[in-house]
């Protein structure tokens, strides 16, 4: 059975047809060409598909595509404004907070959600907030530092 979904993705009106049991992640990747959200597990354990749904951080692999009907989806592709990187994206680049980069979109989306909720997190708060995002390359050191440094810069901006 297929369903037609009308939704807003990164501010743009989108309409797509999908199977009723398809995930939002599959819809983003396979139907809309938004492959920045990654599938690392498909079971909500790795966070590589982190997106915002009506302002709430979710794993797109655990949301049905049909659930996006009439809602607002924000993905990594919408994080930079035009050519201007979000401060987190810039800091991840400058501070070498990525190696292979497969987990990076999920970390950025999740970290942005954290800083919107808590502009002055402690290291422990950053570590626990990002505990749903797996990275196998970095040992998290440079990622956590990048988030803390970005928070400090955004507060003083």
């Amino acid at each position: 059975m297929t369903v037609t979904v009308t939704t807003t993705i990164n501010g743009d009106h989108e309409e797509f047809v999908c199977e009723a049991d398809e995930t939002l992640l599959d819809a983003l990747r396979d139907h809309l060409g938004l492959t920045g959200s990654k599938e690392g597990c498909g079971t909500g354990d790795c966070g590589a598909c982190s997106v915002m749904l009506d302002g709430r951080l979710v794993c797109a692999c655990l949301v049905l595509a049909a659930e996006a009907e009439g809602r607002r989806v924000e993905t990594i592709e919408g994080m930079a404004e035009g050519g201007e990187l979000h401060p987190l994206q810039q800091k991840f680049l400058d501070a070498a907070a990525l190696q292979c980069g497969i987990c990076t979109p999920g970390f950025l989306v999740a970290a942005k959600a954290l800083l919107e909720r808590n502009p002055d997190p402690s290291e422990t708060e950053v570590r626990y907030w990002l505990a749903g995002n797996l990275c196998r390359c970095t040992g998290y050191d440079k990622i956590v530092r990048a988030v803390l440094d970005t928070a400090a810069e955004m507060r003083s901006a």
């Binding site: 199977e19 599959d26 990747r29 938004l34 492959t35 920045g36 959200s37 990654k38 599938e39 690392g40 597990c41 498909g42 079971t43 354990d45 790795c46 590589a48 993905t75 990594i76 592709e77 994080m79 930079a80 990187l85 994206q89 991840f92 680049l93 400058d94 501070a95 070498a96 990525l98 190696q99 292979c100 980069g101 497969i102 987990c103 990076t104 979109p105 950025l108 422990t124 950053v126 570590r127 626990y128 990002l130 505990a131 749903g132 995002n133 797996l134 990275c135 196998r136 390359c137 970095t138 040992g139 998290y140 050191d141 440079k142 990622i143 956590v144 530092r145």
Partner: protein
Amino acid sequence: MPDQSVLPRQFRVVGQRKRRPDGIDKVTGRARFGADMTAPGMLWGLVLRSPHPHARIRSIDTSKAEALPGVKAVVTGRDFEGGERDDVSINCMAGGKALYDGHAVAAVAATSKHAARAALKLIEVDYEVLPHVTDVDAAMQPDAPLLHEDMVTDGLQPPPDRPSNIAARHEIGHGDVETGFAEADEIVELSFKTEATHQGYIEPHACVASVSPDGSADLWVCTQGHFMVRNVCAAMLGLESSQLRVTASEIGGGFGGKTTVFIEPVALALSRKANRPVKMQMTRAEVFRATGPTASSSVDCRVGVTKDGRITAAQAELRYQGGAFAGAGADMGAMAIFTPYDIAHVKAVAWDVVTNRPKLAAYRAPGAPMAAFAAESTLDEAARRIGMDPLELRLKNAAREGTKAAYGPTFPRIGLTACLEAVRDSAHYKAPLGPNQGRGLACGFWFNFGGETCTTVNVNKDGTIGLSVGTPDIGGSRASMCAMAAEEFGVPYEKVRTVIADTASLGYNDVTDGSRVTFSSGLATIQASRQAIKRLCQRAAIMWGIDEEAVVWEDGHAKPASPNAGDFAPLSLAEIAAESANTGGPIAGHHEVNAEGAGVSFGVHLCDLEVDPETGFVKVLRYTAAQDAGKAVNPDYVEGQMQGGSAQGIGWALNEGYVYGEDGKLQNAGFLDYRIPVASDLPMIDAIIVEEPNPGHPYGVRGVGETSIAPPLAAVGNAIRAATGVRLTETPMAPPRILAALDAKVGDPDGRMTGQERDAPGKKARDGLPDDGLP
């Protein structure tokens, strides 16, 4: 081997923390990884996997699946019989037997994922279930279920007269260990086991294959070595190398696990049969069940020391299982196990064993972490026995320039003592510890590799540089290549663009493994750049009408070598490039090499942790890793390798491990139950880069990718010993195991003996040391 290293020099770009060129696409979601590619008319491919750990395949009926609407091709082992059927091929698609839970037995390609999933359920496989074995020690027993009726142990004299699960025996060493043990005042003997762990790269294997009716084929794939993929797939499918062009996508982690093929030949076979492009992507469960975990191990270790801290002898027996095919890497473990130390009498015997588990793939310093766990834990106990600081014991015995390693070579300049001294001089080493806290130290070693490498550098007409390398960039190597080319040409870092060329565009390159890329692709990049610079000088000579010998290259410009050569204003690279059409055409440099002189690598790790005596929960509090990089081309990414390897090793030590049930099935094939470290599990990881130049590289570079995973298992185990008084000898050192060891200690009137030691009468393990770890 020529001494490549130049005198100490000032680098202009190398050594700086330059931004990685591929970073912008990775922070914006534009980077294209294995699963991010599509092709016109593409089908979806899926694999049917054996639910049994060991079963004879009597027959496979695919007729119902083939009849399902949308299904365009089904393949089984039969479809691969025309090509080479070696272990890799049989691992990709089973032949007469399924050898482990998750072994591929058939595959389908259909117009949608839905149809492909439905088709898998319609394939009927008639299995005759056979007895299985998944433990290394059990598999070595004479009555163990036999995986391969033709496997006769290699390396035994006389050769055995019957088959077994023991693929090979290896022995390395020098001196005479009994003589050495006779000189010892104390002998410590312990046995260890480590469970298999998975590389745990976040990106599952994925590819898009497209075979045309004329036999030419293209493959897009996340891999550590697209030339390897081409050669292996071409052999399996009966193609010529020139027919198959493989393009390496961005790779979402590999750690050794993407140095072989799994779904790639299957996708090609499906595409050939369906006459359409086929995309395949593993699920996470498939990654765990059917791709390379590391070996699990069982190691007996014996070390003799004098009272004043000299190691007189070291001996080990290493038993590794690497899944259903030969090649568990126990020989590498034996070669690595005592290599950090200068010991006159060493013997290490390695047994390479097969079991009903997925075929091992390389995992960062393959074979070394479990060996180091045994050796470094045993040494820690020896230090306690003689009342010596564990770091001092290591420093006293550390391998140095001129030390002959038991596996053969005599070391040139190496950095182990410098790493030990760096850790000794760190603030961490002197910091106080609280109750239930302990500090552990361990060393690690890896060989490093050079290998076949081929690189092309093109000077563009606008004065920028295009660099083509054949080694997939797994941890930031494009940044290093740009830096080394910029260093040679004397142009800004940003003027160089490095791409990973496809297999049709460059000569063969070995896979990205053995910590080899910054070393060997770097070496080839430097040499190719020097060749291009020579040509730039020739072109300048033409422009000036003087002899080419009278032109030198300095600071990105051609200059007359001396006033006698003539009075010419320096020509920039861009100026020469702009005139290239008039001076002989495009300007390029090329270098191909089978690189030697990779330069061995050592690291020293220091771990502080706290053990909750009520629950056995371990919290890592502080962690320092020191490692010799020779020359850190980009310190950010050298630190990243050290930190990432440390985190993986901590996971291996505390949490990670394959769990097999009595039924021979993997019980934890997902990130929920196979738990890799998350951000809240770890502290910051302090990385200390030591630079002892490698004489085999023009800049002194050593590989840095792998060594960092060798020390953590023992560093953690030694810290637990210091915190609790109990010696853990099995990984993962998870709370249930720690609690059991603590309970056993309480039940022991001596309060000092571990369960393992109690089980081995005569092996005295008393010591008078307080359990306060290091000073």
